[in-house]
């Protein structure tokens, strides 16, 4: 039985190195280009493996098991869907609407497959993760709520976001242990309303500066924008992970705006100045910051998780979702 002792803090560690990843990235990029994108499935597996294996918790690393062939199959299907969309767009706008409706109708189903594939192919200490979310709930969360959100002119956006994260996180499993999620709808509204306040404030400030004829001051606006974007990119993961638990253990995330904005900005500069060669270094830097500011407050021993039933998952869902820019990160 569980004895209630002082929780033990385990910070995630990230051991990836920019140069090491650069060598892997550039060779795989070349092979992907030479094979007209086919090899990118292998490149993707290596990238994920590199990130997973370099992420360590309590002195053990994660592993990614996705097979390039299943990812390639998924990509081909996704590519086919994309062609259907473009063909429809070339023929008539009515057809586009029909195709988009069809895509919207299968999207929740695809997202569930994608979440299953991703979690099923992740492991830690020899135990797989898995996803148990139902299709019915997915249609509520990924189709009904977004639809209502549009009807309410985005008034329900924070609610929908909370429900999506709740669906994703509370249906995750590690072995036979469920993840749980208790970040409230109110706290999502808190972040979104502050964000709205900042954007409105910035717009008013921009207006006042223009009226006062201080065009130089307008140069400050991109900086302000960067910080507002940073606020969103930092506070939300904090809220989400601080509300996520695994069995009796709880996660924490302590990202801060200033270092995040600094890394984001310098990464962008680096990528532009090197015409893209900095991309792998940028990914490593950002990943290190995000991962090393997360951790697990463990109640007792991390060696006590037990395997659950494993289920099959193929890659189609994830790849299709990614092609349509809807990849959902967990």
């Amino acid at each position: 039985m569980q004895t209630h002792q002082q929780p033990q803090e385990h910070a995630f560690e990230f051991t990836g190195s920019g140069w090491e990843f650069f060598k892997i990235w550039i060779v795989n990029l070349l092979l992907s280009i030479l094979t007209l994108g086919i090899y990118s499935a292998w490149a993707k597996v290596r990238r994920l493996q590199y990130f997973y294996r370099n992420t360590r918790l309590a002195d053990a690393s994660f592993e990614y098991h996705g097979l390039p062939m299943s990812i390639l199959k998924g990509r081909l299907i996704a590519f086919g869907l994309l062609l259907v969309y473009y063909a429809a767009a070339a023929i008539s706008p009515v057809l586009v609407i029909i195709v988009l409706l069809l895509i919207a109708a299968v999207m929740p189903w695809l997202i569930v497959r994608s979440l299953r594939f991703k979690l099923h192919n992740s492991s830690y200490r020899g135990l797989r993760f898995s996803f148990a979310g139902s299709d019915a709930a997915a249609y509520t969360v990924f189709l009904l709520f977004p639809f209502l959100t549009i009807l309410t002119l985005l008034g329900l956006a924070p609610f929908t976001h909370q429900r999506i994260k709740q669906y994703q996180h509370s249906n995750g499993q590690f072995g036979d242990t469920y993840f749980n999620f208790d970040a409230s709808v109110g706290s999502f509204y808190g972040i979104y309303l502050r964000l709205l306040g900042m954007v409105v404030g910035l717009a008013i400030l921009a207006g006042v500066l223009t009226v006062l004829g201080l065009p130089l001051m307008l140069m400050l606006l991109p900086v302000a924008y960067l910080f507002i974007a940073g606020y969103y990119a930092v506070r939300l993961p904090n809220l989400i992970w601080n509300g996520t638990g695994l069995g009796e253990h709880t996660f924490y995330s302590r990202l801060e705006i200033k270092p995040y904005v600094w890394i984001f900005f310098t990464n962008m500069l680096g990528i532009i100045l090197t015409l893209g060669l900095f991309v792998p270094f940028a990914q490593i830097r950002m990943m290190r910051y995000k991962i090393e500011n997360m951790g697990l407050m463990a109640q007792g021993d991390l060696a006590e998780f037990v395997a659950g039933q494993s289920q099959d998952a193929n890659a189609t869902g994830e790849e299709t979702a990614e092609m349509f820019d809807l990849d959902i990160s967990l």
Binding site: Y50, N54, E63, A303
Partner: protein, 344 residues
């Protein structure tokens, strides 16, 4: 001897073991533990930098190995060869070669592959699409750049008739019509939209002395249309745009670029030459001298040069427009010699 951490796949408990290869078997030895697995049934994860490697066994158990040197030695002794990708991924030399190769491939595709595939695809684009592109481009131009023509209806009709009399080359399968507009900002100009519409500016009509010169310019523009140059430019730059946005990760900006491409419509030298040749043949077919186009081109260049001079002092944003025209219609003297060798 290789030390590793063993997980049985049923719990997260880790056990320290020693791994060895005995004959055709991997053998794991730890406290009160001895397991044997046939060598060929054990999956060994690929080497990736300094990351831990996994040996996965048929029963779901696995060993995490961080002592890469020893594992490599054992695999080598067992006759397992590294894959060529493995070698490349861990070599600074190959990283350098790959970087240079990527640059070379990108340049080669931009210079050769892109124009070639754009021309192949452009020929197969359905007329409905060309129609839609032509309409929306004209709408955009009308909104931002063009004003209604000040030519009277009789003059317009005369030009339309003159153009209608121009016999097309045999392989023509497009419907053509002219629309009249004026644009002090763009100066004397005419341009072809993908659907076969030619936009003729008042400023060009005013510049030329006789209608045959205008017909010559129209024949040149028809060359652009017939060879689907606008469509090719759109395809080329949207392919580049697609690559860029895919790389930078934003697809939404892609669609916005299409009108901008047609607006700039700076055809390549090759495209201009193709259109010149097309115009030349059309003019000859109609018993008109190719020198007409040469004259018109000369006047156009002179007009734009003098506009440019004036604009330098006025600092109008139209300066960019004028400069664009010149950069997109390069080396006029050379083109004139091509078309009209009998001229001095």
């Amino acid at each position: 001897m290789l030390t590793a951490r063993y997980f049985d796949g049923k719990t997260t408990a880790a056990r320290a073991v020693e791994l060895s290869l005995e004959g055709q078997e991997w053998v794991l030895r730890g406290d009160d533990l001895e397991l044997r697995y046939p060598f060929v049934q054990v999956q060994i994860s690929e080497r990736l930098g300094n990351t831990p490697r996994l040996l996965t066994f048929s029963d779901g158990g696995q060993c995490e190995v961080t002592d890469h040197a020893v594992l490599d030695q054992m695999l080598h002794a067992a006759g397992v060869r590294r894959s060529w990708v493995d070698g490349m991924q861990h070599s600074l030399g190959w990283a350098l070669i790959a970087s240079l190769a990527i640059v070379a491939v990108l340049i080669a595709s931009y210079v050769y592959l892109l124009p070639w595939s754009a021309s192949v695809i452009a020929k197969r684009v359905p007329d409905a699409v060309l129609q839609k592109m032509g309409n929306s481009t004209l709408d955009t131009l009308d909104k931002f750049m063009l004003q209604p023509s000040k030519l009277d209806a009789v003059r317009q009709q005369a030009l339309v008739d003159a153009y209608a009399k121009l016999q097309p080359l045999a392989d023509s399968n497009m419907s053509y019509h002219i629309v009249f507009r004026s644009s002090p900002r763009m100066g004397p100009n005419a341009f072809a939209l993908p659907d076969g519409t030619i936009v003729m500016l008042d400023e060009l009509v005013a510049l030329t002395e006789n209608d045959d010169e205008i017909v010559a310019v129209l024949a040149h523009e028809r060359g652009h249309i017939e060879q689907r140059h606008a469509m090719r430019m759109v395809l080329q730059s949207s392919a580049v745009g697609l690559m860029m946005t895919w790389y930078m990760g934003d697809v939404s900006t892609l669609l916005a670029t299409v009108p901008a491409v047609i607006l700039q419509a700076s055809y390549s030298r090759d495209m201009e030459r193709e259109s010149d040749e097309y115009a030349e043949r059309t003019l000859q077919l109609n018993s008109l001298s190719p020198c007409l186009l040469a004259t018109a081109l000369e006047k156009l260049e002179a007009a734009h040069l003098s506009r440019n001079e004036k604009l330098k002092t006025t600092k109008d944003d139209a300066q960019d427009v004028a400069r664009d025209y010149l950069s997109s219609h390069p080396a006029t003297p050379e083109r004139i010699r091509q078309m009209c060798p009998e001229r001095p």
